[in-house]
């Protein structure tokens, strides 16, 4: 089986039947990375040696019959997760030399399961971006067309899964950073409910919005990986002590009789016709599966992007204050005093988009503007959350596009931050509401770029959306398509 066809569920079976080993599969991934990543640039740091060691240990564990659900599975981690002893840059020059002394809770949980961590994946700097173009390591490229962005900020994670470099990956989603790249790369991505997965050890962008989630090749893998990372963590005060259901066990329950809401505000002008066509077709698939599709309204959708760019930047401006050159990271100091060192370190260490957001957020929190911006945004956030609560009184889940267009071309939106921000218009409201949502492949553009379908669930309704996603996946074959990688980068666009 080729590396790009490996799945968690498939490998578990093969490990059990001793048809392959973790070492063999890990080596297959490493070879695949070697042959593809010069072009795709999904990896920031590779952990070949450590990965093979862990794989060998996993094989022993498998032999002893002491395996956990994910023992021996080669995974990649967005470079935002603290990994003890393994460089963690968060896509930034300022953390170019940063080697954490501790593991994030999710990393710890994966390690306990005997997961093989193959390496750290490319991302927008401090998860601020929708195209991976703000990464200090340069953008990862879309495996379906290297002239296009993979989406962001978890672009490297989506690319690595789509290109068969890893079996699955973890990303984080603050305003769409799992779902949008998953959609653009034709893979499955899930943003859990706020509080479902621990944020401890995940480098913070916007603390009230950040969530960790899986990016996988199919829905079942997504359920398995979510099950492995979800659950209460006493080290994260915002994690919720609520039992983790067996997501895999309920996958096959179907959608017959389920009420699926179609929010009017998500089917608007500006939605690319090809995307609209694919989503409309998906609606028909669900109708055919016996679901009841009803129109609903989320009336405050229009304010989401503005609201998000106040709250997220305000939190970020404070979260990123610790990168001051004093205790860790890259320090720039050509003599002068303390203030000079701060200025030089932060001027050289942060990229343009991060600086823009720190300034926006600082402004929003400033005395005299706080009420008009930050407080107002919090009030709007409450209204947006209430929109969802009301909608979920009528329906079990919501169905929308993930992004207004398929993956855009590299450089297409870098000059216009506002256009870039608007590419997250359908994903941002979910983070503001704190609920869960996922992206699954639902078609392709004529140019051959994947299109994503978003399923939004009630808070802690991950089981519902996984079930609906699985039903759709069974009824369609979009997830089986793979990037052929026969396209060459345009000379002029690189």
């Amino acid at each position: 089986m080729s590396a790009s066809q490996l799945t968690i569920s498939g490998l578990r079976q093969e490990f059990q039947e001793q048809r392959t080993t973790s070492v063999a599969v890990t080596q297959q991934c490493l070879d695949r990375i070697s042959s593809t990543d010069t072009e795709l640039n999904a990896f920031v740091t590779r952990c070949d040696e450590e990965a093979l060691k862990t794989a060998a240990a996993a094989d022993t564990r498998l032999k002893e019959g002491a395996a956990a659900a994910l023992t021996g599975i080669p995974l990649g981690l967005k470079d935002i997760f603290n990994t003890r002893g393994v460089r963690t840059t968060c896509g930034s020059k300022i953390l170019d030399n940063y080697i954490p002394v501790y593991d994030a809770t999710v990393v710890e949980r994966l390690r306990e399961q005997g997961v093989v961590i193959v390496g750290k994946l490319n991302m927008d700097e401090f998860a601020m971006g929708s195209s991976n173009e703000t990464s200090a390591s340069g953008a990862a490229l879309n495996p379906w067309d290297p002239n296009r962005v993979p989406g962001g900020s978890s672009g490297g994670s989506a690319v690595a899964v789509a290109a068969g470099q890893v079996v699955a990956a973890l990303g984080t989603d603050t305003g769409g950073s799992i779902r949008q790249p998953a959609a653009h790369c034709g893979v499955v991505g899930l943003k859990p409910t706020y509080g479902r997965v621990s944020r401890y050890g995940v480098i913070a962008f916007a603390s009230s919005l950040d969530q960790v989630g899986p990016i996988t090749r199919n829905v079942e893998d997504c359920a398995l990986l979510l099950g492995a990372i979800a659950g209460y963590d006493h080290r994260d005060s915002t994690s919720v002590d609520c039992p983790v259901p067996d997501y895999q066990a309920s996958l096959r329950d179907g959608v017959a009789g389920k009420k699926i809401g179609l929010p009017r505000e998500y089917f608007i002008e500006g939605l690319d016709p090809e995307v609209k066509r694919a989503v409309d077709a998906a609606i028909e698939v669900y109708r055919g599966l016996g679901a009841d599709l009803v129109p609903v309204s989320l009336p405050h959708t229009d304010y989401s992007v503005a609201c998000y760019y106040l709250i997220a930047t305000a939190e970020a401006s404070s979260n990123l204050a610790r990168y001051d050159g004093v205790r860790f990271g890259v320090r720039h100091s050509s003599g002068g005093g303390l203030i000079d060192m701060y200025q030089q370190t932060r001027s050289a260490g942060f990229g343009a988009e991060v600086k823009r957001r720190i300034m926006l957020g600082t402004y929003a929190l400033s005395s005299g503007y706080y009420d008009a911006y930050y407080i107002k945004a919090q009030k709007v956030r409450t209204l947006i959350r209430q929109d969802f609560i009301k909608a979920f009184e009528q329906v079990d889940l919501l169905l929308t596009p993930v992004a207004p267009t398929a993956a855009f071309r590299i450089g297409e939106k870098t000059a216009d931050p506002l256009q870039m921000y608007l590419s997250d218009i359908f994903t941002i409201p979910v983070n503001l509401a704190g609920t869960c949502a996922m992206s699954i492949p639902c078609g392709f553009t004529e140019a051959g770029m994947p299109i994503g379908l978003q399923l939004i669930g009630k808070p802690f309704g991950e089981g519902d959306i996984l079930q609906a996603a699985w039903a759709f996946e069974q009824a369609t074959d979009w997830h089986q398509r793979q990037p052929t990688n026969n396209r060459k980068p345009d000379e002029n666009s690189l």
């Binding site: 953390l95 401890y200 480098i203 009230s208 005060s237 305000a314 939190e315 400033s366």
Partner: protein
């Protein structure tokens, strides 16, 4: 000139709590460990680390709030105070801003030369401390983050005090309370109880406040008094010379006894406070408050009042005995065993305090326990020994740890109350001092003391002084 101005003082006190671990992580709060040995990803502010609130800190805040008559907020919020400084690892301090845990309290202060007065407490909030900067000889600076993230309460008073003496009375009372509650060790030198004073002056009769200066770095009661006095003088002089007080932070220099402007660091900070998204709003139930209220110890003012009203002690005794919790506990244990409060008070304030001071031990380590002391007092009251002999018994107990009865028996200290035996001694004394006898009989009553002394001396202190007095009077007037 000075008499035309009224001083206005408000105080912000930082109370470092005695919890075993820090406010947002499990690191130890022990003082004086090697630099950065008590740190973890959370208090180092490493990327990705998150704070988790220590419940013991909330308990201490509620205790302090109740003891200072505050309203305990059912819902309070942690906020980030944003500023850059190398001793502040996250680039923000987690504190409370808009909704603190305690509000609207007060303390009644009193003292010699002070009119009784109620000082308002605006708020008490919880926050984390910063680390410490150490400057090396090469001109570089080093950061020690052991203290970072240790728990503090900030107690903010209303601008209700009108003199340094009132400010000191308020501070001493607050200090007494937090130490009584056991939430703070009260060590001012180590910075466990430190204060910033907001000082302004205004002409008497003016309703609005003058412009205030905030004086920092005050870590002893003496310095606080010096700093306030200096600041008041400075401001009045400035105004009299036609100048204006500017709102600023000033640092007290204890060596020079002056306050100095910190203007360089001041620059009108905008701390950009906002609710910390990493911490949930804190909800405190009525049951939680009730539980803490029920377990509150009796506080010094309550004790003082009780000692006066129920035990009948003079105000001075009551205030000395209630000043420190271990002393009050010693006294109360003694009274429980020997129900003569005034006699108990005399002994505790006299022999006990004298001896522990002389031997440099704490009251809790006093070898003459309340039980042993009660044994002495009993023998005084049943006339087995005199007060004077009792003092030697006390020091014997201090040395040996034996009981009063054992010592009295061993040393034959039992008082002589046998009239026959005393008569014989009195005969000898009268015979030996004919001149004095004649003078006494001639009206020099004062000589009675001399005769008592002689008899006591001859009995080696064992004679019952009351009886001696009585017998002497009879014999000399005969």
């Amino acid at each position: 000139m000075k008499t035309r101005y009224e001083t206005v003082i408000g105080l912000e006190v930082h109370v470092q709590l005695t919890t075993a671990s820090k406010i947002f992580c499990g690191c130890s709060t022990a003082f004086g460990q090697s630099p950065n040995s008590q740190t973890c990803p959370v208090c180092l502010g490493l990327p990705g680390a998150l704070p988790v609130l220590n419940q013991e800190v909330v308990n201490a805040a509620i205790k302090t709030g109740l003891a200072t008559n505050c309203r305990i907020a059912p819902y309070s919020i942690f906020a980030r105070k944003n500023y850059f400084y190398p001793d502040l690892p996250k680039g923000y301090q987690i504190s409370q801003f808009e909704l603190p845990i305690c509000e609207q309290g007060w303390l009644d202060i009193s003292g010699e030369e002070l009119a009784d007065k109620r000082v308002g407490i605006t708020r008490i909030h919880m926050e984390e401390d910063a680390g410490k900067l150490l400057h090396d000889s090469a001109g570089g600076s080093l950061v020690d983050l052991n203290r970072a993230c240790t728990p503090l309460l900030e107690v903010v008073s209303e601008p209700d005090m009108r003199s340094a003496a009132e400010a000191i009375a308020y501070l001493k009372q607050l200090h007494q309370i937090v130490v009584y509650l056991g939430v703070c060790d009260g060590n001012m030198e180590e910075g466990s109880f430190r204060c910033d004073a907001n000082v302004s002056v205004r002409p008497f009769g003016q309703t609005e406040f003058g412009i205030r200066a905030e004086v920092k770095n005050l870590n002893s009661f003496r310095f606080i008094k010096q700093a306030i006095d200096y600041e008041v003088e400075r401001q009045i002089e400035l105004i009299e010379e036609g100048g204006k007080v500017v709102q600023e932070t000033r640092l007290f220099d204890p060596d020079a006894g002056v306050t100095r402007s910190m203007r360089g660091k001041e620059q009108a900070h905008d701390y950009r406070y906002f609710p910390d998204p990493d911490l949930l709003p804190l909800e405190v139930s009525d049951a939680w408050i009730a539980e803490i209220r029920a377990a509150l110890p009796e506080l010094p003012t309550q004790k003082r009042q009780r000692y006066e009203e129920e035990l009948g002690l003079p105000a001075y005794d009551a205030s000395v005995l209630s000043a420190e919790r271990p002393l009050a506990e010693y006294f109360e244990a003694l009274v429980a065993r020997h129900n003569n409060p005034k006699l108990c008070s005399n002994w505790v304030m006299g022999e006990v305090l004298g001896a522990i001071k002389e031997n440099d031990v704490t009251i809790s380590a006093c070898p003459v326990t309340p039980e042993l002391l009660a044994g002495i007092l009993q023998r005084i009251e049943d006339n087995t020994i005199s007060g004077k002999i009792a003092k030697t018994v006390f020091s014997d107990i201090w040395q040996t740890g034996k009981s009063a009865d054992e010592i009295i028996a061993e040393k034959g200290l039992k008082q002589v109350t046998d009239t026959g035996a005393l008569d014989a001694i009195i005969d000898e004394v009268i015979a030996a001092n004919p001149t004095e006898v004649a003078e006494y009989r001639g009206g020099k009553d004062k000589l009675m003391g001399f005769f008592v002394g002689q008899v006591m001396k001859a009995s080696k202190g064992k004679a019952n002084p009351g009886l001696v007095n009585k017998l002497l009077k009879e014999r000399l007037s005969a």
